[in-house]
Protein backbone atom coordinates (compact mmCIF):
# COMPACT_ATOMS: atom_id res chain seq x y z
CA UNK A 1 0.00 0.00 0.00
CA UNK A 2 2.72 2.34 1.16
CA UNK A 3 4.78 1.45 -1.91
CA UNK A 4 1.97 2.10 -4.34
CA UNK A 5 1.56 5.57 -2.96
CA UNK A 6 5.30 6.18 -3.14
CA UNK A 7 5.40 4.90 -6.67
CA UNK A 8 2.61 7.27 -7.66
CA UNK A 9 4.42 10.19 -6.08
CA UNK A 10 7.62 9.15 -7.82
CA UNK A 11 5.95 8.97 -11.23
CA UNK A 12 4.20 12.30 -10.62
CA UNK A 13 7.57 13.90 -9.99
CA UNK A 14 9.00 12.40 -13.16
CA UNK A 15 5.97 13.56 -15.14
CA UNK A 16 6.41 17.06 -13.76
CA UNK A 17 10.03 16.96 -14.99
CA UNK A 18 11.44 17.20 -11.48
CA UNK A 19 14.81 15.55 -10.86
CA UNK A 20 15.16 12.48 -8.68
CA UNK A 21 18.01 12.88 -6.20
CA UNK A 22 20.05 10.17 -4.43
CA UNK A 23 18.20 10.45 -1.11
CA UNK A 24 14.74 10.37 -2.71
CA UNK A 25 12.70 7.21 -2.70
CA UNK A 26 12.89 5.35 -6.01
CA UNK A 27 11.62 2.00 -7.23
CA UNK A 28 14.24 -0.73 -7.16
CA UNK A 29 14.02 -1.22 -10.94
CA UNK A 30 14.75 2.46 -11.49
CA UNK A 31 17.81 2.17 -9.29
CA UNK A 32 19.14 -0.96 -10.98
CA UNK A 33 18.41 0.42 -14.43
CA UNK A 34 20.48 3.51 -13.64
CA UNK A 35 23.24 1.53 -11.98
CA UNK A 36 23.55 -0.53 -15.14
CA UNK A 37 23.31 2.39 -17.54
CA UNK A 38 25.58 4.85 -15.74
CA UNK A 39 28.26 2.29 -14.94
CA UNK A 40 28.18 1.07 -18.52
CA UNK A 41 28.63 4.65 -19.60
CA UNK A 42 31.55 5.12 -17.18
CA UNK A 43 33.22 1.89 -18.31
CA UNK A 44 32.86 3.02 -21.93
CA UNK A 45 34.70 6.27 -21.25
CA UNK A 46 37.53 4.35 -19.63
CA UNK A 47 37.80 1.47 -22.11
CA UNK A 48 37.69 4.05 -24.90
CA UNK A 49 41.08 5.31 -23.69
CA UNK A 50 42.65 2.15 -25.14
CA UNK A 51 41.93 2.50 -28.87
CA UNK A 52 42.79 6.20 -28.75
CA UNK A 53 45.80 5.72 -26.52
CA UNK A 54 47.05 3.35 -29.21
CA UNK A 55 48.10 6.37 -31.30
CA UNK A 56 49.54 8.88 -28.82
CA UNK A 57 53.11 7.74 -29.32
CA UNK A 58 52.65 7.87 -33.11
CA UNK A 59 50.69 11.12 -33.46
CA UNK A 60 52.12 12.82 -36.56
CA UNK A 61 52.75 16.26 -35.03
CA UNK A 62 53.43 17.55 -31.56
CA UNK A 63 50.26 19.59 -31.77
CA UNK A 64 48.14 16.57 -32.65
CA UNK A 65 49.85 14.63 -29.86
CA UNK A 66 48.84 17.28 -27.34
CA UNK A 67 45.27 17.44 -28.67
CA UNK A 68 44.92 13.67 -28.48
CA UNK A 69 46.40 13.50 -24.98
CA UNK A 70 44.06 16.22 -23.78
CA UNK A 71 41.10 14.43 -25.32
CA UNK A 72 41.92 11.14 -23.68
CA UNK A 73 42.41 12.94 -20.41
CA UNK A 74 38.92 14.40 -20.81
CA UNK A 75 37.52 10.91 -21.36
CA UNK A 76 39.18 9.66 -18.19
CA UNK A 77 37.61 12.62 -16.40
CA UNK A 78 34.21 11.67 -17.82
CA UNK A 79 34.73 8.19 -16.43
CA UNK A 80 35.47 9.76 -13.08
CA UNK A 81 32.31 11.93 -13.00
CA UNK A 82 30.19 9.02 -14.13
CA UNK A 83 31.58 6.61 -11.54
CA UNK A 84 30.79 9.27 -8.93
CA UNK A 85 27.24 9.61 -10.26
CA UNK A 86 26.86 5.82 -10.25
CA UNK A 87 28.18 5.63 -6.69
CA UNK A 88 25.30 7.82 -5.48
CA UNK A 89 23.08 4.81 -6.25
CA UNK A 90 24.65 2.77 -3.47
CA UNK A 91 27.43 0.79 -5.13
CA UNK A 92 31.14 1.59 -4.99
CA UNK A 93 33.45 2.08 -7.95
CA UNK A 94 35.23 -1.13 -6.92
CA UNK A 95 31.97 -3.05 -7.16
CA UNK A 96 31.28 -1.62 -10.58
CA UNK A 97 34.80 -2.54 -11.70
CA UNK A 98 34.31 -6.08 -10.46
CA UNK A 99 31.16 -6.30 -12.56
CA UNK A 100 33.14 -5.09 -15.57
CA UNK A 101 35.90 -7.62 -15.02
CA UNK A 102 33.50 -10.50 -14.45
CA UNK A 103 31.69 -9.67 -17.68
CA UNK A 104 28.44 -8.79 -15.91
CA UNK A 105 28.71 -5.14 -16.90
CA UNK A 106 29.18 -4.05 -20.49
CA UNK A 107 30.76 -1.06 -22.19
CA UNK A 108 30.07 0.42 -25.60
CA UNK A 109 30.86 -2.11 -28.34
CA UNK A 110 32.41 0.58 -30.50
CA UNK A 111 35.62 0.25 -28.49
CA UNK A 112 35.93 -3.36 -29.55
CA UNK A 113 37.00 -2.15 -32.96
CA UNK A 114 40.72 -1.47 -33.53
CA UNK A 115 42.32 1.87 -34.47
CA UNK A 116 44.55 0.77 -37.34
CA UNK A 117 45.63 4.04 -38.90
CA UNK A 118 45.96 7.68 -37.86
CA UNK A 119 42.77 8.45 -39.80
CA UNK A 120 40.97 6.12 -37.39
CA UNK A 121 41.73 8.63 -34.65
CA UNK A 122 39.92 11.17 -36.79
CA UNK A 123 37.03 8.78 -37.36
CA UNK A 124 36.72 8.06 -33.64
CA UNK A 125 36.54 11.75 -32.76
CA UNK A 126 34.22 12.65 -35.57
CA UNK A 127 31.87 9.64 -35.57
CA UNK A 128 32.16 8.04 -32.14
CA UNK A 129 32.21 11.27 -30.17
CA UNK A 130 29.67 12.64 -32.64
CA UNK A 131 27.30 9.78 -31.91
CA UNK A 132 28.00 10.04 -28.19
CA UNK A 133 27.09 13.74 -28.23
CA UNK A 134 23.70 13.10 -29.79
CA UNK A 135 22.97 10.62 -27.04
CA UNK A 136 24.44 12.73 -24.26
CA UNK A 137 22.73 15.95 -25.24
CA UNK A 138 19.49 14.08 -24.86
CA UNK A 139 20.62 12.67 -21.52
CA UNK A 140 21.20 16.14 -20.09
CA UNK A 141 17.46 16.07 -19.41
CA UNK A 142 17.47 12.61 -17.86
CA UNK A 143 15.39 12.32 -14.68
CA UNK A 144 18.20 11.33 -12.31
CA UNK A 145 19.87 14.50 -10.96
CA UNK A 146 23.50 13.37 -10.63
CA UNK A 147 23.47 11.73 -14.07
CA UNK A 148 21.93 14.78 -15.67
CA UNK A 149 24.50 17.10 -14.11
CA UNK A 150 27.37 14.83 -15.18
CA UNK A 151 26.02 14.99 -18.74
CA UNK A 152 25.92 18.77 -18.75
CA UNK A 153 29.62 18.91 -17.83
CA UNK A 154 30.55 16.20 -20.30
CA UNK A 155 28.68 17.66 -23.26
CA UNK A 156 30.71 20.85 -23.11
CA UNK A 157 33.89 18.87 -23.76
CA UNK A 158 32.47 16.42 -26.27
CA UNK A 159 31.77 18.99 -28.95
CA UNK A 160 35.50 19.87 -29.00
CA UNK A 161 36.35 16.22 -29.46
CA UNK A 162 34.03 15.90 -32.40
CA UNK A 163 35.42 19.01 -34.08
CA UNK A 164 39.02 17.92 -33.55
CA UNK A 165 38.27 14.47 -34.95
CA UNK A 166 36.62 15.99 -37.99
CA UNK A 167 39.66 18.22 -38.47
CA UNK A 168 41.98 15.19 -38.56
CA UNK A 169 39.64 13.50 -41.02
CA UNK A 170 39.38 16.60 -43.21
CA UNK A 171 43.16 17.04 -43.27
CA UNK A 172 43.58 13.44 -44.41
CA UNK A 173 40.70 13.58 -46.88
CA UNK A 174 42.09 16.71 -48.51
CA UNK A 175 45.72 15.56 -48.35
CA UNK A 176 47.82 13.26 -50.55
CA UNK A 177 46.14 10.33 -52.37
CA UNK A 178 47.44 7.96 -49.68
CA UNK A 179 45.97 10.13 -46.95
CA UNK A 180 42.64 10.33 -48.70
CA UNK A 181 42.58 6.55 -49.04
CA UNK A 182 43.32 6.27 -45.34
CA UNK A 183 40.42 8.60 -44.52
CA UNK A 184 37.93 6.75 -46.71
CA UNK A 185 39.04 3.41 -45.27
CA UNK A 186 38.53 4.73 -41.72
CA UNK A 187 35.04 5.93 -42.59
CA UNK A 188 34.25 2.57 -44.22
CA UNK A 189 35.21 0.70 -41.07
CA UNK A 190 33.70 3.07 -38.50
CA UNK A 191 30.44 4.12 -40.14
CA UNK A 192 28.29 1.11 -39.32
CA UNK A 193 29.73 0.48 -35.85
CA UNK A 194 28.97 4.15 -35.03
CA UNK A 195 25.33 3.67 -36.01
CA UNK A 196 25.24 0.58 -33.83
CA UNK A 197 26.25 2.71 -30.83
CA UNK A 198 22.62 3.79 -30.50
CA UNK A 199 21.60 0.23 -29.74
CA UNK A 200 19.01 -2.08 -31.25
CA UNK A 201 15.76 -0.93 -32.85
CA UNK A 202 13.29 0.24 -30.24
CA UNK A 203 11.13 -2.80 -30.95
CA UNK A 204 14.08 -5.05 -30.00
CA UNK A 205 15.35 -3.11 -27.02
CA UNK A 206 14.56 -4.74 -23.71
CA UNK A 207 15.03 -1.59 -21.66
CA UNK A 208 13.52 1.15 -23.79
CA UNK A 209 9.94 1.12 -22.44
CA UNK A 210 10.82 1.59 -18.77
CA UNK A 211 13.61 4.00 -19.58
CA UNK A 212 11.16 6.20 -21.46
CA UNK A 213 8.44 5.99 -18.81
CA UNK A 214 10.93 7.06 -16.13
CA UNK A 215 12.46 9.63 -18.42
CA UNK A 216 15.90 8.14 -18.01
CA UNK A 217 15.95 8.23 -21.79
CA UNK A 218 14.15 11.12 -23.46
CA UNK A 219 14.39 9.93 -27.04
CA UNK A 220 14.43 6.41 -28.44
CA UNK A 221 17.42 4.64 -30.02
CA UNK A 222 16.03 5.04 -33.51
CA UNK A 223 15.23 8.73 -33.09
CA UNK A 224 18.74 9.46 -31.86
CA UNK A 225 20.35 7.38 -34.60
CA UNK A 226 18.37 9.25 -37.22
CA UNK A 227 19.51 12.61 -35.85
CA UNK A 228 23.12 11.49 -36.04
CA UNK A 229 22.84 10.22 -39.61
CA UNK A 230 21.14 13.39 -40.85
CA UNK A 231 23.91 15.66 -39.60
CA UNK A 232 26.88 13.41 -40.34
CA UNK A 233 26.24 12.47 -43.96
CA UNK A 234 26.55 16.11 -44.99
CA UNK A 235 29.81 16.47 -43.12
CA UNK A 236 31.23 13.52 -45.06
CA UNK A 237 30.16 15.08 -48.35
CA UNK A 238 31.85 18.37 -47.51
CA UNK A 239 35.26 16.68 -47.35
CA UNK A 240 34.64 14.44 -50.32
CA UNK A 241 34.20 11.13 -48.53
CA UNK A 242 31.59 8.52 -49.38
CA UNK A 243 29.39 7.02 -46.70
CA UNK A 244 29.58 3.24 -47.19
CA UNK A 245 25.83 2.67 -47.47
CA UNK A 246 24.58 1.74 -50.97
CA UNK A 247 20.99 2.56 -49.92
CA UNK A 248 21.79 6.04 -48.77
CA UNK A 249 19.95 8.71 -50.73
CA UNK A 250 18.60 12.21 -50.35
CA UNK A 251 14.83 12.37 -50.26
CA UNK A 252 14.00 15.74 -51.77
CA UNK A 253 10.35 15.71 -50.74
CA UNK A 254 11.02 15.01 -47.03
CA UNK A 255 14.26 16.96 -46.94
CA UNK A 256 16.14 14.12 -45.31
CA UNK A 257 18.44 11.18 -45.99
CA UNK A 258 17.11 7.66 -46.31
CA UNK A 259 19.46 4.87 -45.37
CA UNK A 260 20.02 1.13 -45.33
CA UNK A 261 19.69 -1.46 -42.60
CA UNK A 262 22.38 -2.23 -40.04
CA UNK A 263 23.90 -5.70 -40.04
CA UNK A 264 22.42 -6.82 -36.74
CA UNK A 265 24.26 -10.12 -36.76
CA UNK A 266 27.50 -8.20 -36.48
CA UNK A 267 26.02 -6.06 -33.72
CA UNK A 268 25.00 -9.04 -31.59
CA UNK A 269 28.23 -10.84 -32.30
CA UNK A 270 30.29 -7.98 -30.92
CA UNK A 271 27.94 -7.59 -27.95
CA UNK A 272 28.43 -11.28 -27.20
CA UNK A 273 32.19 -10.86 -27.10
CA UNK A 274 33.28 -11.72 -30.62
CA UNK A 275 34.39 -8.29 -31.82
CA UNK A 276 37.96 -7.85 -33.01
CA UNK A 277 39.18 -6.46 -29.67
CA UNK A 278 36.76 -7.58 -26.92
CA UNK A 279 39.23 -9.91 -25.25
CA UNK A 280 42.17 -7.57 -25.73
CA UNK A 281 40.35 -4.64 -24.11
CA UNK A 282 39.26 -6.63 -21.09
CA UNK A 283 42.65 -8.25 -20.59
CA UNK A 284 44.30 -4.86 -20.81
CA UNK A 285 41.98 -3.35 -18.23
CA UNK A 286 42.27 -6.29 -15.85
CA UNK A 287 46.04 -6.36 -16.17
CA UNK A 288 46.35 -2.64 -15.40
CA UNK A 289 44.07 -3.12 -12.41
CA UNK A 290 46.00 -6.13 -11.12
CA UNK A 291 49.40 -4.54 -11.74
CA UNK A 292 48.18 -1.63 -9.63
CA UNK A 293 47.13 -3.72 -6.65
CA UNK A 294 50.38 -3.29 -4.73
CA UNK A 295 50.26 0.45 -5.36
CA UNK A 296 46.73 0.80 -4.00
CA UNK A 297 47.64 -1.37 -1.02
CA UNK A 298 50.68 0.78 -0.31
CA UNK A 299 48.60 3.96 -0.47
CA UNK A 300 46.10 2.52 2.00
CA UNK A 301 48.84 1.26 4.33
CA UNK A 302 50.52 4.66 4.27
CA UNK A 303 47.26 6.51 4.95
CA UNK A 304 46.56 4.23 7.91
CA UNK A 305 50.03 4.76 9.35
CA UNK A 306 49.50 8.51 9.11
CA UNK A 307 46.14 8.24 10.84
CA UNK A 308 47.52 6.25 13.75
CA UNK A 309 50.44 8.69 14.06
CA UNK A 310 47.92 11.52 14.38
CA UNK A 311 46.01 9.62 17.05
CA UNK A 312 49.18 9.12 19.10
CA UNK A 313 50.10 12.78 18.72
Amino acid sequence: MEDIKKLEEFQAKIDADLKIEPKDWMPEEYRTHLQRQISQHAHSEVIGMQPEGNWISRAPSLRSKVVLLAKIQDEAGHGQYLYSAAETLGKSRDEYLEELHSGKAKYSSIFNYPTLTWADIGAVGWLVDGAAIVNQVSLQRTSYGPYSRAMVRICKEESFHQRQGYEIMATCALGTPEQKKMAQDALNRFWWPSLMMFGPHDSESAHTANAMKWRIKRETNDELRDKFIQKTVQQAEVIGLTVPDPDLKWNEADGRYEYGEINWDEFWNVVKGNGPCNKQRMRHHIKAHEDGTWVREAAIAYAEKQKSKQLVA
Binding site: V46, M49, Q50, G53, I56, S57, R58, P60, S61, L62, R63, S64, K65, V66, L69, A70, I72, Q73, A76, G77, G79, Q80, Y83, W118, I168, T171, C172, G175, T176, E178, Q179, H284, H285, A288, H289, D291, G292, T293, W294, V295, R296, E297, A298, A299, A301, Y302, K305
Partner: protein, 252 residues
Protein backbone atom coordinates in the same frame (compact mmCIF):
# COMPACT_ATOMS: atom_id res chain seq x y z
CA UNK B 1 81.45 26.90 -31.53
CA UNK B 2 79.78 30.30 -31.31
CA UNK B 3 77.11 31.56 -28.99
CA UNK B 4 74.29 30.79 -31.40
CA UNK B 5 75.37 27.20 -31.89
CA UNK B 6 75.72 26.75 -28.17
CA UNK B 7 72.28 28.19 -27.53
CA UNK B 8 70.65 25.96 -30.14
CA UNK B 9 72.24 22.95 -28.50
CA UNK B 10 71.09 24.09 -25.09
CA UNK B 11 67.50 24.43 -26.33
CA UNK B 12 67.62 20.98 -27.87
CA UNK B 13 68.78 19.53 -24.55
CA UNK B 14 65.82 21.05 -22.75
CA UNK B 15 63.33 20.33 -25.52
CA UNK B 16 64.45 16.76 -26.17
CA UNK B 17 64.45 15.90 -22.49
CA UNK B 18 60.86 17.09 -22.10
CA UNK B 19 59.80 15.38 -25.30
CA UNK B 20 61.25 11.99 -24.43
CA UNK B 21 60.01 12.01 -20.84
CA UNK B 22 56.61 13.15 -22.15
CA UNK B 23 56.58 10.30 -24.64
CA UNK B 24 57.37 7.90 -21.79
CA UNK B 25 54.59 9.31 -19.59
CA UNK B 26 52.08 8.99 -22.41
CA UNK B 27 52.77 5.24 -22.42
CA UNK B 28 50.95 5.11 -19.08
CA UNK B 29 47.66 6.06 -20.67
CA UNK B 30 45.03 3.45 -19.68
CA UNK B 31 47.62 1.56 -17.63
CA UNK B 32 47.54 3.47 -14.34
CA UNK B 33 46.86 1.81 -10.97
CA UNK B 34 43.76 3.98 -10.53
CA UNK B 35 41.84 6.25 -12.87
CA UNK B 36 43.03 9.34 -10.99
CA UNK B 37 46.64 8.41 -11.74
CA UNK B 38 45.83 7.91 -15.39
CA UNK B 39 44.60 11.48 -15.39
CA UNK B 40 47.61 12.75 -13.45
CA UNK B 41 50.12 11.01 -15.68
CA UNK B 42 48.43 12.23 -18.84
CA UNK B 43 48.70 15.69 -17.36
CA UNK B 44 52.44 15.27 -16.88
CA UNK B 45 52.77 14.12 -20.48
CA UNK B 46 50.79 17.14 -21.66
CA UNK B 47 52.98 19.59 -19.74
CA UNK B 48 56.16 17.95 -20.94
CA UNK B 49 55.20 17.87 -24.61
CA UNK B 50 54.14 21.50 -24.28
CA UNK B 51 57.57 22.38 -22.88
CA UNK B 52 59.23 20.49 -25.71
CA UNK B 53 57.27 22.45 -28.29
CA UNK B 54 58.42 25.79 -26.91
CA UNK B 55 62.09 24.84 -26.88
CA UNK B 56 62.12 23.08 -30.24
CA UNK B 57 60.33 25.99 -31.88
CA UNK B 58 62.91 28.35 -30.39
CA UNK B 59 65.80 26.13 -31.51
CA UNK B 60 64.38 26.17 -35.04
CA UNK B 61 64.07 29.95 -35.02
CA UNK B 62 67.62 30.41 -33.77
CA UNK B 63 68.88 28.08 -36.46
CA UNK B 64 67.16 30.21 -39.10
CA UNK B 65 66.68 27.48 -41.70
CA UNK B 66 62.91 27.35 -41.36
CA UNK B 67 62.81 24.14 -39.35
CA UNK B 68 59.67 23.86 -37.23
CA UNK B 69 59.13 22.05 -33.92
CA UNK B 70 57.91 19.06 -35.94
CA UNK B 71 60.88 19.12 -38.31
CA UNK B 72 63.12 18.89 -35.28
CA UNK B 73 61.06 16.32 -33.39
CA UNK B 74 60.34 14.09 -36.37
CA UNK B 75 63.31 14.75 -38.60
CA UNK B 76 66.29 14.03 -36.37
CA UNK B 77 67.87 10.68 -35.67
CA UNK B 78 68.88 9.35 -32.31
CA UNK B 79 72.49 10.57 -32.58
CA UNK B 80 71.06 14.08 -32.85
CA UNK B 81 68.92 13.89 -29.71
CA UNK B 82 70.25 15.57 -26.57
CA UNK B 83 67.82 14.36 -23.91
CA UNK B 84 69.02 13.08 -20.55
CA UNK B 85 69.74 9.37 -20.27
CA UNK B 86 67.37 9.25 -17.31
CA UNK B 87 64.40 10.49 -19.35
CA UNK B 88 64.57 7.53 -21.73
CA UNK B 89 64.65 4.83 -19.03
CA UNK B 90 61.70 2.47 -19.50
CA UNK B 91 58.62 3.00 -17.36
CA UNK B 92 58.78 -0.41 -15.69
CA UNK B 93 56.27 -0.76 -12.88
CA UNK B 94 54.60 2.23 -11.27
CA UNK B 95 57.31 2.47 -8.59
CA UNK B 96 60.05 2.58 -11.20
CA UNK B 97 58.27 5.34 -13.08
CA UNK B 98 57.75 7.31 -9.88
CA UNK B 99 61.40 6.87 -8.91
CA UNK B 100 62.69 7.94 -12.32
CA UNK B 101 60.33 10.88 -12.41
CA UNK B 102 61.20 11.94 -8.89
CA UNK B 103 64.95 12.07 -9.63
CA UNK B 104 64.19 13.87 -12.88
CA UNK B 105 61.55 16.26 -11.53
CA UNK B 106 63.91 17.40 -8.76
CA UNK B 107 66.52 18.05 -11.48
CA UNK B 108 64.21 20.06 -13.74
CA UNK B 109 62.79 21.92 -10.77
CA UNK B 110 66.16 23.26 -9.70
CA UNK B 111 67.35 23.75 -13.25
CA UNK B 112 64.32 25.88 -14.15
CA UNK B 113 64.45 27.72 -10.84
CA UNK B 114 67.94 28.84 -11.82
CA UNK B 115 67.22 29.42 -15.53
CA UNK B 116 64.34 31.70 -14.68
CA UNK B 117 67.05 34.38 -14.29
CA UNK B 118 68.72 33.59 -17.60
CA UNK B 119 69.80 36.56 -19.67
CA UNK B 120 68.16 34.96 -22.67
CA UNK B 121 64.58 36.18 -22.49
CA UNK B 122 63.06 33.14 -24.17
CA UNK B 123 64.90 30.73 -21.88
CA UNK B 124 63.95 32.79 -18.83
CA UNK B 125 60.28 32.90 -19.79
CA UNK B 126 60.25 29.21 -20.63
CA UNK B 127 61.89 28.37 -17.31
CA UNK B 128 59.43 30.50 -15.34
CA UNK B 129 56.44 28.84 -16.99
CA UNK B 130 57.89 25.35 -16.79
CA UNK B 131 58.86 25.83 -13.16
CA UNK B 132 55.18 26.14 -12.25
CA UNK B 133 54.44 22.86 -13.98
CA UNK B 134 57.46 21.04 -12.64
CA UNK B 135 56.65 22.18 -9.11
CA UNK B 136 53.46 20.19 -9.42
CA UNK B 137 55.28 17.25 -11.03
CA UNK B 138 57.82 17.16 -8.21
CA UNK B 139 55.04 17.26 -5.63
CA UNK B 140 53.28 14.40 -7.37
CA UNK B 141 56.36 12.17 -7.57
CA UNK B 142 57.58 13.10 -4.06
CA UNK B 143 54.24 12.26 -2.51
CA UNK B 144 54.25 8.90 -4.23
CA UNK B 145 57.87 8.28 -3.21
CA UNK B 146 56.86 8.74 0.42
CA UNK B 147 53.65 6.74 0.09
CA UNK B 148 55.38 3.81 -1.58
CA UNK B 149 58.57 4.03 0.46
CA UNK B 150 56.64 4.11 3.71
CA UNK B 151 53.67 1.99 2.56
CA UNK B 152 53.97 -1.79 2.60
CA UNK B 153 57.12 -3.90 2.71
CA UNK B 154 56.55 -4.81 -0.92
CA UNK B 155 56.21 -1.22 -2.06
CA UNK B 156 59.22 -0.18 -0.01
CA UNK B 157 61.41 -2.86 -1.56
CA UNK B 158 60.23 -2.09 -5.06
CA UNK B 159 61.04 1.60 -4.76
CA UNK B 160 64.36 1.04 -3.04
CA UNK B 161 65.36 -1.30 -5.86
CA UNK B 162 64.22 1.21 -8.47
CA UNK B 163 66.25 4.02 -6.92
CA UNK B 164 69.29 1.74 -6.71
CA UNK B 165 68.94 0.81 -10.38
CA UNK B 166 68.38 4.35 -11.62
CA UNK B 167 71.13 5.98 -9.61
CA UNK B 168 73.85 5.37 -12.21
CA UNK B 169 71.98 7.60 -14.66
CA UNK B 170 71.92 10.63 -12.38
CA UNK B 171 75.52 11.70 -13.05
CA UNK B 172 74.64 12.44 -16.69
CA UNK B 173 72.14 15.07 -15.58
CA UNK B 174 74.81 17.42 -14.31
CA UNK B 175 77.62 17.03 -16.81
CA UNK B 176 78.83 20.12 -18.63
CA UNK B 177 80.91 20.86 -21.71
CA UNK B 178 81.98 23.89 -23.75
CA UNK B 179 78.33 24.73 -24.49
CA UNK B 180 77.73 25.27 -20.79
CA UNK B 181 80.96 27.16 -20.28
CA UNK B 182 80.24 29.52 -23.13
CA UNK B 183 76.64 30.16 -22.08
CA UNK B 184 77.48 30.50 -18.38
CA UNK B 185 79.86 33.29 -19.34
CA UNK B 186 77.02 34.97 -21.21
CA UNK B 187 74.71 34.66 -18.20
CA UNK B 188 72.39 32.41 -20.19
CA UNK B 189 73.08 28.96 -18.76
CA UNK B 190 73.61 27.94 -15.16
CA UNK B 191 76.41 26.08 -13.44
CA UNK B 192 75.21 22.52 -13.01
CA UNK B 193 77.25 22.17 -9.84
CA UNK B 194 74.90 24.62 -8.17
CA UNK B 195 71.89 22.75 -9.51
CA UNK B 196 73.43 19.51 -8.22
CA UNK B 197 73.69 20.88 -4.68
CA UNK B 198 70.05 21.91 -4.63
CA UNK B 199 69.09 18.57 -6.18
CA UNK B 200 71.05 16.73 -3.46
CA UNK B 201 69.12 18.55 -0.76
CA UNK B 202 65.71 17.78 -2.27
CA UNK B 203 66.59 14.17 -2.97
CA UNK B 204 67.98 13.63 0.53
CA UNK B 205 64.99 15.24 2.16
CA UNK B 206 62.39 13.20 0.26
CA UNK B 207 64.30 9.92 0.45
CA UNK B 208 64.54 10.34 4.22
CA UNK B 209 60.80 10.92 4.48
CA UNK B 210 60.24 7.88 2.27
CA UNK B 211 62.55 5.75 4.44
CA UNK B 212 64.58 4.99 1.30
CA UNK B 213 68.37 4.79 1.46
CA UNK B 214 70.30 7.02 -0.85
CA UNK B 215 72.64 4.82 -2.90
CA UNK B 216 76.38 5.41 -2.77
CA UNK B 217 77.68 7.27 -5.78
CA UNK B 218 79.49 4.72 -7.93
CA UNK B 219 79.98 4.41 -11.68
CA UNK B 220 77.88 6.94 -13.58
CA UNK B 221 76.87 6.59 -17.23
CA UNK B 222 77.18 9.58 -19.48
CA UNK B 223 76.18 10.38 -23.04
CA UNK B 224 73.64 13.18 -23.13
CA UNK B 225 76.13 15.86 -24.16
CA UNK B 226 77.34 13.84 -27.14
CA UNK B 227 73.93 12.42 -28.07
CA UNK B 228 75.07 8.90 -27.25
CA UNK B 229 72.08 7.07 -25.83
CA UNK B 230 70.85 3.74 -24.61
CA UNK B 231 69.18 1.38 -27.07
CA UNK B 232 65.79 2.50 -25.81
CA UNK B 233 65.85 5.90 -27.49
CA UNK B 234 65.97 4.49 -31.01
CA UNK B 235 62.72 2.66 -30.39
CA UNK B 236 61.02 5.67 -28.85
CA UNK B 237 61.80 7.88 -31.80
CA UNK B 238 61.21 5.19 -34.44
CA UNK B 239 57.68 4.83 -33.12
CA UNK B 240 57.17 8.56 -32.78
CA UNK B 241 58.46 9.33 -36.31
CA UNK B 242 56.77 6.47 -38.15
CA UNK B 243 54.15 8.47 -40.06
CA UNK B 244 56.58 11.20 -41.05
CA UNK B 245 59.01 8.72 -42.46
CA UNK B 246 56.34 6.60 -44.19
CA UNK B 247 54.64 9.60 -45.85
CA UNK B 248 57.32 12.27 -46.31
CA UNK B 249 55.06 14.39 -48.57
CA UNK B 250 52.07 14.49 -46.27
CA UNK B 251 51.08 17.16 -43.82
CA UNK B 252 48.84 16.23 -40.93
Amino acid sequence: MDKKEALINYCLRLGDTSLILGQRMAEWCSNGPILEEDIAMTNLALDLIGQARTMLTYAGELEGNGRSEDDLAYGREEREYYNTLLSERPNGHFGETISRNFLHDAYLYHLYAALKNSKDEMIAAHAAKSLKEVTYHLRHSSEWMVRLGDGTEESHNKVQQAINDLWEYTGDLFEMNEVDNLLINEGIAVDMNTVKQAWDNTVNEVLTRAAIQRPEDAYMHSGRLNAVHSEYLGHIIAEMQFLHRAYPDATW
